[in-house]
């Protein structure tokens, strides 16, 4: 299935290659570079390319291209999903997925790739199983290793692969048993010029951090599970219990993992936490324009809005911006034409305002298009959909774990059109 993998950095250097079948020469990447040239932005490179003898499927993550070479028919999503899994695993192992980190740990990465695919077919992709075979490096361990000459490769054989619960290793032990759940919701919305909602939905995710001894069996129940419109689960969740009782019942993997993703789509349920008053205009005469933006709270359910930030992709003709902000700071990047206004906490008494003039290139006609505003915000201790975890029960183990739930609302793809 997957023949070879090339890791390519943003300048177009191949810095790692791995072949699961016969070796394929690097020249195959030339087709990719060609397409890369054509697409201005790296995001615009088509994920699937056809060459005379091979198919190239690539993803773009963390300024790196993961390029896989395929020879025969295979579902493209299969490959794309796998490549993302590779990137996730690298991130999980080393904290970030970047060229530097991969170059530093090239042997470990190579071993990981060896274990993840066999003859091009995924073999072990669960991070728990992998970690048992190849231990992730930690500072302590690397110190110990240099002193004692021990290695990163697990000397025990991975038993997780054999068990019925492949995502959890056996014999987990902790002195502090704890289970934390973060309910994170992102608001995706498009508001039009006048501030009415064109489209809004909530994308939620429950991230868990579970450090429990033994083989605990957890049941997480919600106060109002009917809110959830569409869900997808980590494989550990028993789908049937969800279907029948609307509770999440699972034997958790060890450590951090994403328990479930959900979706609240009915629009009237989606509260928009802020409103934006804006006017951006360019004058027909003279090379200038005016910008005036005010943000105020709308439906925040009594919580404060933090981390407020407005990003505007200006038209190419805008040369500079001369603005004053009543709160926060703004920057205008000339090269990328991006105006960022970092506001911080939203004070309902004194609404933040950004006002001033824009200078456009002289001689060019006034820009036709008005840029749209991307808004970023955070609300702590609130799940905007109103979802609440009611309780967490544990079966199968005797001790009492420490439990905690945290809520967070963020803006996802929150866009205001002008």
């Amino acid at each position: 299935m997957i023949h070879s993998l090339f890791l390519i950095n943003h300048t177009g250097d191949i810095f790692l290659e791995k072949h699961w079948k016969s070796v394929i020469g690097r020249s195959v990447c030339d087709y990719f570079f060609e397409a890369r040239e054509k697409a201005v932005e790296p995001e615009n490179v088509p994920p699937v390319l056809q060459t005379p003898h091979h198919y190239l499927i690539s993803i773009y993550r963390g300024k790196l291209f993961f390029l896989s070479v395929i020879q025969t028919e295979v579902p493209p999503l299969f490959v794309i999903e796998f490549l993302h899994r590779v990137a996730d695993t690298i991130q999980d192992y080393f904290g970030e997925c970047s060229e530097g980190v991969i170059k530093d740990n090239v042997v470990t990465v190579y071993e990981l790739l060896e274990e993840m695919l066999d003859n091009g077919f995924p073999l072990a992709t669960e991070s728990n199983v992998l970690k048992e075979m190849i231990r992730p490096p930690t500072i302590l361990r690397s110190v110990v290793n240099t002193l004692t000459g021990a290695s990163n490769v697990g000397d025990t054989l991975p038993t997780g692969q054999l068990s019925n619960v492949p995502w959890r290793r056996v014999g987990v032990k902790y002195t502090n048993n704890e289970a934390y759940f973060d309910v994170i919701e992102e608001i995706d919305a498009i508001l039009d010029k006048s501030g009415t909602t064109v489209f809004a939905e909530i994308q939620g995710v429950i991230e868990a951090c579970v450090r429990l001894t033994g083989m605990p069996d957890l049941t997480l129940s919600f106060m109002n599970p009917r809110l959830l419109d569409d869900v997808s689960f980590h494989p550990c969740v028993r789908f049937k219990r969800w279907e029948s009782e609307r509770v999440l019942s699972f034997i958790p993997p060890d450590g951090n993992f994403t328990l479930m993703n959900y979706h609240v789509s009915s629009q009237n349920l989606v509260a928009i936490p802020v409103y934006v008053k804006q006017s951006i205009s360019f004058f027909e005469t003279g090379p200038c324009g005016r910008l005036d933006i005010t943000i105020g709270p709308k439906q925040t359910m009594g919580k404060t809005v933090e981390g407020l930030m407005v990003t505007i992709h200006m038209p190419k003709a805008v040369l500079s911006a001369n603005l004053t902000a009543t709160q926060g700071t703004y920057t205008y990047d000339l090269a990328t034409k991006v105006l960022v206004w970092d506001i911080g906490k939203l004070n309902p008494q004194k609404l933040p305002n950004l006002k001033g003039s824009l200078t456009t290139q002289a001689g060019t006609p006034k820009p036709e298009d008005n840029p749209s505003l991307n808004i970023d915000l955070k609300i702590q201790q609130l799940a905007i959909s109103g979802l609440k975890v009611s309780r967490l029960d544990m079966y199968g183990e005797k001790y009492k774990p420490f439990k905690g739930v945290k809520y967070l609302t963020k803006a996802g793809k929150f866009q205001v059109r002008t």
Binding site: Q50, Y55, P76, V106, R238, K240, H263
Partner: protein, 915 residues
Amino acid sequence: MLDSNKDSLKLEAMKRIVAMIARGKNASDLFPAVVKNVACKNIEVKKLVYVYLVRYAEEQQDLALLSISTFQRGLKDPNQLIRASALRVLSSIRVTIIVPIMMLAIKEAASDMSPYVRKTAAHAIPKLYSLDPEQKDQLIEVIEKLLADKTTLVAGSVVMAFEEVCPERIDLIHKNYRKLCNLLIDVEEWGQVVIINMLTRYARTQFLNPNMNESLLEEGSGGDRTFYGSDEDEDEDEEEKEKKAETPAMAKRKPYVMDPDHRLLLRNTKPLLQSRNAAVVMAVAQLYFHLAPKAEVGVIAKALVRLLRSHSEVQYVVLQNVATMTIKRRGMFEPYLKSFYIRSTDPTQIKVLKLEVLTNLANETNISTILREFQTYIKSMDKDFVAATIQAIGRCATNIGEVRDTCLNGLVQLLSNRDELVVAESVVVIKKLLQMQPEKHSDIIKHMAKLTDNIQVPMARASILWLIGEYCEHVPKIAPDVLRKMAKSFTNEEDIVKLQIINLAAKLYLTNSKQTKLLTQYVLNLAKYDQNYDIRDRARFIRQLIVPTEKSGALSKYAKKLFLALKPAPVLESPFKDRDHFQLGSLSHLLNAKAGGYQELPDWPEAAPDPSVRNVEVKDSVPEWTKCSSREKRKEKKVEKPFYSDSEGESGPTESADSESDSASGSESGSGSEESASRSESEESEDGSESEEEEEEEEEEKEKKKKKKELKKPVQESEREMNTVTAESHSHFTSLFSVEPAPSPQVTPVNTFLSNSLVTDLEGLSLSDTVLSPATIAPSSALKNYELLHRITGEGLSVEYCFSRQPFSPDANMVAVQMQFTNNATADTKNLHIEDVKLQSGMRVKEFSEIELLPAGETATAVMGIDFCDSTQAANFQLCTHTRKFFVSIQPPVGELMRPVFLTENEFKKEQGEQ
């Protein structure tokens, strides 16, 4: 360093070598030095040596042979993981000489105790096949063997091997079909993708098209829709039961009845739509798209829309597929219209695809919203995207008549846009729109004629010229003037523009030769000496055609007809039209070209192939009634199949260890197999408990026996519960039910009483194949037999009956009564049937089919249904043989009239409240 005695030095050396390999540098010179270390004790060094070996063995075949013996030793290791890794490396070394050794190793590993080793063997099969395709026949044997494997670990890998080695051998799947369907949910995610794709192809060859009665369906769509619609919301297991009840009714209307195996596949894949893996979701979606009845396809829309939140690459692929789907089934995605709205931050390719989807979704009702949305897109900074939007508006306008004028006006406004690309694109689109009704729009044509001075984009210029030429009658004054201007600039134009100038000239010459004769001559002369031979050709051709000379043939008379014939308006089509002949989600579909190794999705068969091929052998003879009842059914509905007659028996032949067959299961197998897949939702948790049992079965047979004894008691308890409880609200009560997993005689009915938490514990872990098979809640052991006819009064024929506590498939309101006929006489009894049924009002009886022959000393079972109308009144009828008639009656005890229903606590309270 490699020769050093110290492991740490060796390790350091190997690490450097592997780093070299990773960077793509050649390290093959070191081969001899590295191979020496293959037997190294240090596990990390060993691993790295393996990595090296797999990479370079192909280039240094002779030296690689040195290492083989190490692996052969590894294959015999008591530790399964070492066996597996030895096989893995051995099979990864691409050296032709060792093919026989590999073959042998694979064969051995295929029958290994450990499923993990068997999985590795499955992985090794395609490797060997690519090395030496001549081994195909032997490998197919191994695949066949592994396909019969019942562990989830192996299933995915072996199907992958099947797809690579022998995808055409669909016959190998028959026997494993039901097992694969049932295992599916527990296979690891990558395996799921492969299996689902394979099953899609399989189903296409084996089942009938569920939409073949589309027209019929359409007529009665109201009823059908609601029926399907409702069961989508409800628990899906309900579906099966409902289906059952519905079947006779639907059968009357249309002859198509879905094969139960087909239904099984759809039902078992549906939960996978909730997978976190986009590839799995896509695989299920394509399966539904290709296989499900039209009304059920809708369920996939929500899941696909969810994927749009994922990485942009995933979005790209999903949108491609959605675009194809929207052409065929527009209604499916209409509710999610807004999810396809475009954000300014999307990459261009995503924007264009979303636009495509929006265009496909446009219809009379939502067009105004879509057009408003398009208006904002036109202001975007991304010019390629704006061009695509204009195209999209054009398509909407052609498809939906009512908005044509609005669109046209909007587009005309765009003509004054400052951006030339936008204008050019609008011109091209307007040209297409105008062709539909040119009479009304001569002013637009005039306006466009003016644009020729400004627009430089060749395609747009060509479009304008064509328009003027085509409709020169509508703009008689302007046309010659345009030609004059064009003639002036002819030499500087692009080729397509030149061609259109010639065209224009020719057309004008024919309609208005007085004014344009000279101009035309001039243009043609210019064209004659053009560099491009197409243009020279065209000029020559047209000159002959339109300019009358002595030599000009008959054709010139018809020149006017040739040039000014009415041309049909172009149909603006989606580029995704007809893409669905490729299997959705496949690489070929994405590229719209056949990729290597692509397996065509076969068309539905005209007539369903024999469904019995999927039946798995049952050791003992199938109870006779199964045959006759299925025969009877076949009479009723043409394509009926023996219902699950032994679907659960797969485990049969291989799992001989399970021979502790319960006597009850023998007598009951009849009714059990008559069963439809499920009875109520309560089965769900049953599956869990059962699965747990099955696992243990595999691992520790003995312990289970012990356990079984312990479990006897709760079983009876559960039976009492069954008899008396109607609406047991307790959500845990399901675990009290005993389970009869398989009707085939050799499979043990497993009765469990486990604490609820334990049940749910293990629910997710189900492994074995019978787990999710359509098992029934049948009280296994203590069904009470009643006597209907004593052997003395019956002259040797004795009849006993019991209430089998299964839903009676033809009619849900009826109680199934299982009759057992024993012929104790010396002569054969013939034509056993029912006559002269005397009933209280409201009661109904569904007779069993006639038993034609009951030889002496033999026993037969049959099932009849009686609707007692919730009363305990007896059903009286005559039981007839070929010689005699016996008056008999059946009176039900109260408990037998009830049916367990699964309710959540809340539902129960609600019910209670109503009463």
